[in-house]
């Protein structure tokens, strides 16, 4: 499949994530939308990695070009997990105080 398809898919997934973050009011949903953004970039990284690998294969059969893209994906997943653990803790902390995960409560700070 041409690389353009992958780029289009990743950009669409990413945009769904962005729109979700900007329009939804529930902290958990916003959180899932951010995860969607990260996973869209993971998909894109893997696709590019494969593309560069395929291009380099023609010149050298034992090439390792393109490995770093897949390595990056693992780092993104680890960092995303770390972020999730902190983020969920923050949401739980907020829930204990206001018994809601609605971010409309966030308007208290304005003024």
């Amino acid at each position: 499949m041409p690389i353009q398809y992958y780029i289009a898919l990743a950009v669409i997934l990413f945009s769904i994530g962005v729109v979700g973050v900007l329009t939804r009011r529930n902290a958990i949903i916003i959180f899932m939308c951010i995860e969607l953004m990260l996973n869209a970039t993971n998909l894109l990284l893997v696709a590019f990695s494969k593309m560069h690998h395929g291009a380099a294969l023609a010149a050298d059969a034992a090439t390792k070009v393109g490995v770093e893209g897949q390595l990056f994906v693992f780092f993104v997943m680890v960092v995303a997990a770390a972020e999730v653990s902190v983020g969920l803790a923050i949401i739980v902390m907020m829930y204990r105080n206001v018994h809601s995960v609605d971010i409309n409560f966030l308007n208290r700070l304005k003024n």
């Binding site: 690389i3 780029i7 990743a10 990413f14 994530g17 962005v18 973050v21 902290a27 916003i30 959180f31 951010i34 953004m37 990260l38 869209a40 970039t41 894109l44 990284l45 590019f48 990695s49 593309m51 560069h52 070009v65 393109g66 770093e68 893209g69 390595l71 990056f72 780092f75 993104v76 960092v79 770390a82 972020e83 902190v86 983020g87 803790a89 923050i90 949401i91 902390m93 907020m94 105080n97 206001v98 971010i103 409560f105 966030l106 208290r108 700070l109 304005k110």
Partner: protein
């Protein structure tokens, strides 16, 4: 390498200390000792004594410039912990953990000053930011602190997503994450629209991180809601480290992706940066004028100062490089000083500062010097920091932008002097400070004031270290 490994180890040491050391007043002594060792180890590496030899496959590159920036950040943290440790103890019961989180943040800063690869840059930003989300929410029963933490976290991870998409695009276009090979790659290959999009996404992500307008909207709420001691850390050390990474990244990119080298798909970076700078200066300064709370005013003023630091991005030359170091040192000193006073006040509004000069002359004097430095009055380091930034822009041939900068600096004098006027020319019957000033704080503030004035008279005391 010393700084990265030792700061992580010291973070763990402090976490262990909270489990095995029952005497709570020992934590700050341990933290201070660790910070002194960290600064020492970093200076040792600058002089060529690296304790660890690790092959990083050229993903990290240690040079004197980066290590010197580490020294500035670590020394500022040392000063910060020295002044505010008793305030940190008062936030909640987990003092040692707060210190540990500060050390983990410093580890991220050490990575950000030495990255040579986009993967390391991403990790550095995350290692620096994640502890901060926790510190922001550390006042667990305070709703404002909760909200600030959630907002900071959501905005932070949102910008991380944008950053990652930018990195993925650049990887797709060049086939590498390395800063150096990106440079070489783009010269050989045709610059593609993919790479340019990636660069613009990186710009947006960093604008979020350093709170440049129009991506600044989270800053006032987060700075206002977080416990004041941690706002001090966020607004000073973390902010300048973010700027260093911003400039370091774009230094390597501006040339190859610019409109001048590639008329077909290149970006007019100067125009883009100029818009960013003017918007940031405008929003920061004008909104700060209308604030009622000093803490919120300082949040907006930090946006305005970010506008000045963005000049380093606009004109990448030797002058702006020096300016960035001076700005980092001066801004850290002034912010740490003024927040050290602010946390002692009963009331954070401008009226709350009434009559401080009569009741607490030391605090009032230190605040005055810090505010003068932030406003950029001569004989303080803030003046030379702004001067270097503006001179760099004039050197590039954009005098009109420097004039805009000076005009906004003039606006900033208004809101900084409101605090000074409240302290000296208005009176209050009772002491506006809530806690008595300990001698530690007085010593710390004396160091801040001395630093501001010495660097303000002789900026090369700092800058000569760049070239020794």
């Amino acid at each position: 390498m010393n700084a990265i490994i030792l700061s992580a180890i010291f973070g763990v040491v402090l976490m262990m200390a909270s489990a095995f050391v029952s005497n709570r007043s020992l934590y700050k002594t341990i933290a201070l000792a660790c910070l002194v060792l960290l600064v020492g180890a970093n200076i040792a590496e600058t002089l060529g004594y690296s304790f660890f030899t690790i092959d990083t496959h050229n993903m990290l590159a240690f040079n004197k410039m980066g290590l010197f920036f580490n020294t500035i950040c670590f020394t500022a943290t040392l000063l910060y912990v020295f002044i505010s440790s008793s305030e940190i103890e008062r936030v909640d019961n987990y003092t040692a953990e707060y210190f540990a989180l500060i050390f983990f943040s410093l580890c991220g800063i050490a990575i950000l000053t030495s990255f040579n690869n986009l993967l390391m840059m991403f990790l550095g930003i995350e290692i620096m930011s994640i502890p901060l989300y926790i510190l922001t929410g550390s006042d667990k029963r305070n709703l404002k602190s909760n909200e600030a933490a959630l907002k900071y976290f959501l905005m932070g991870s949102f910008s991380t997503g944008i950053l990652l998409l930018g990195i993925a695009f650049i990887y797709g276009a060049t086939g590498s994450f390395g800063l150096e090979s990106i440079k070489v790659g783009t010269l050989q290959m045709q610059l593609s629209i993919l790479e340019v999009t990636g660069c613009i996404l990186l710009l947006i992500a960093f604008a979020f991180k350093v709170s440049a307008a129009p991506f600044h909207f989270w800053t006032p709420d987060v700075y206002d809601g977080a416990p004041s001691v941690f706002t001090s850390f966020m607004a000073s050390i973390i902010k300048v480290a973010g700027f260093y990474a911003f400039v370091k990244l774009f230094e390597s990119r501006i040339e190859t992706t610019s409109f001048a080298t590639n008329p077909a798909v290149g970006v007019n970076w100067h125009l883009l940066f100029a818009i960013l700078i003017i918007a940031t200066l405008f929003v920061g300064n004008i909104t700060a004028v209308f604030q009622q709370s000093v803490k919120r005013m300082l949040a907006y003023s930090s946006i305005a100062q970010a506008g000045f630091m963005l000049f380093a991005l606009f004109s990448v030359n030797a002058f702006s490089k020096e300016g960035l170091y001076l700005y980092a040192a001066g801004y850290c000193l002034a912010t740490i000083g003024i927040f050290a006073v602010l946390v002692r006040m009963k009331d954070y509004t401008f009226e709350g500062f009434n009559g401080l000069a009569k009741h607490e002359p030391t605090l009032a004097f230190a605040t005055t010097v810090c505010l003068l430095s932030l406003a950029g009055i001569p004989l303080t380091v803030g003046f030379f920091a702004k001067y270097f930034m503006l001179a760099a822009v004039v050197k590039q041939g954009y005098a009109w932008l420097a004039i805009v900068g000076v005009l906004f600096a003039g606006v900033s004098i208004y809101y900084y002097f409101r605090v000074i006027a409240a302290m000296y020319f208005k009176s209050a019957d009772e002491n506006p400070a809530a806690v008595a000033t300990s001698s530690t704080v007085k010593i710390g503030l004396a160091v801040v004031v001395a630093g501001i004035i010495i660097l303000g008279v002789w900026p090369h005391a700092l800058l000569n270290f760049l070239y020794f």
